[in-house]
Subunit: 262 residues, 2 copies
DNA sequence: AAGTGGTCTAGACCACTAT
DNA sequence: TAGTGGTCTAGACCACTTT
């Protein structure tokens, strides 16, 4: 019957498929765990058993298992076996997908440059950017709107150094979009980010068309160049009702219908 | 000289080391990128070239490259080559390490059960937990302190079902700790989490020894069992000055001194 | 001693991209 | 056509855990 054949394909590897064998095997094991066939703490069949059962080489089994380890689904213990992991909130990670979405669509996103001027570094700016107090820095303020609605306020201090051409490009309003879409300036080596809870100041509320004291996120950032010198320090302010960070943990709804996509 | 030998070992693979060859190769390439030897957008040497250069088999090179791909350092394009990725804020992820730290040390953390009672499901509770309005649910309120300082307030609604023994164990104050340290109840299959910005209510401020209107994080959670039925819905409230979410992006300071640890 | 995961080899074949 | 990454094989050897 068609039914039994479909059933069959869900628990065996289709060598004619474009989906690699290791990915198919990983998906099979994941689905079996999600279905309760293996429960948290249970031991999975040994790798040699999986080789026989699914007719693949040790390296292929190994790669499938490694996939599941990377995804936090199982944990391996040398000499003992491979075990299903229980839920672990400690490994949850929250992404900036929603923030990214704001910038992805150029049609709906607009970045308005509110201010851009040279300023003298205060003690705090000097500490963050690694420059002497009083040294000239560039201060930028931007307002990012989505569908015409002010959503994010951005403040940024940049190193002012004629020898470093980065500042010119950073002034471009498209620089922000690039940062979130992987087309950033190739002069940046790394960054440090932090999310804090805050409330809007009177001025921020005015720009963001919200009210003073409304809850908001503050996303602070410092970027470094390849000489490990700070280049940019700043922060995004976003009202709490216009952004949330979401994450999932554990095995999500396995679509057992077979339409797998990598 | 000793110096040149140390230099040598940094750019070649030490077969006597306990660090696997693929990890050493990945580290070598990462260090070269961090040092500016390869810049964002640059193409890495082809895999066959890397085989010759470092004297390892194709599979080993492949695995090293895959590591870097997983870490977001490079991107591979079939038929073209492997390229160094520029900074990409869109891939940043924030973890709950700081939250986890609060629970890791039983000596310094205490969980006080403020309230635990049966209550009738309101429309909102019913929607979140998938039960009918008026159905009995368990309401729990906990106060988590660190070094005697109230830090997190937790509210949670649990399915009340004598057939599901989970509720008994969930009442234990240690259940929270287990969730954050990977020793959670094995009856939970998955969870959904969201971080929002909020401000403390008058009541929350009293418990947390803060002030009304102070900025705070609200971490909402829903947990599901292996039948995909909601089991728990609740949220943590934490004043913004006692928690921050941090993340790094790009290549962190490569410790080129050689003391690698996996 | 037997079984487990961890690493590695030296090729093979394929799909894709560039020229 | 040549070069690239992508997958896979059928073993080998090792370190570790359990019996």
């Amino acid at each position: 019957m068609e039914k039994s054949k479909a059933q069959e394909s869900r628990w065996s590897i289709d060598r004619s498929s474009y989906v690699p064998a290791y990915a198919q095997l990983a998906q099979i094991l994941r689905a079996q765990i999600a279905a309760g066939r293996f429960r948290p703490g249970d031991r999975l069949p040994s790798e040699s058993q999986l080789c026989e059962r699914y007719g693949v080489s040790p390296m292929t089994v190994r790669r499938a298992i490694n996939l599941l380890v990377d995804q936090g689904v199982v944990v391996t213990e040398q000499g003992r076996g491979t075990f299903v992991r229980p839920l672990d909130l400690g490994t949850v990670s929250f992404g900036l997908e929603e923030l990214r979405r704001l910038f992805r669509d150029p049609e709906r996103t607009s970045v308005r440059l509110l201010e851009a001027r040279i300023t003298s570094a205060t003690e705090r700016i000097g500490r963050k950017l690694g420059v002497r107090v009083g040294q000239r820095t560039i201060f930028i303020r931007r307002l990012i709107s989505y569908d015409g609605k002010p959503t994010i306020l951005h403040r940024e201090y940049l190193i002012y150094d004629p020898a470093r051409p980065i500042v010119e490009a950073e002034l471009e309003v498209t620089a922000l979009r690039g940062l979130l879409n992987g087309q950033s300036l190739s002069t940046l080596k790394r960054g440090e980010l932090a999310i804090e809870a805050t409330v809007l100041t009177e001025e921020e509320a005015r720009f963001l068309e919200s009210r003073t004291g409304a809850p908001a996120f503050r996303l602070e950032h410092v970027f470094y160049d390849f000489e490990d010198r700070p280049v940019s320090w700043g922060w995004f302010i976003c009202p709490g009702d216009r952004l949330r960070f979401t994450a999932v943990v554990g095995l999500q709804g396995e679509r057992t219908t077979g339409n797998e996509r990598e």
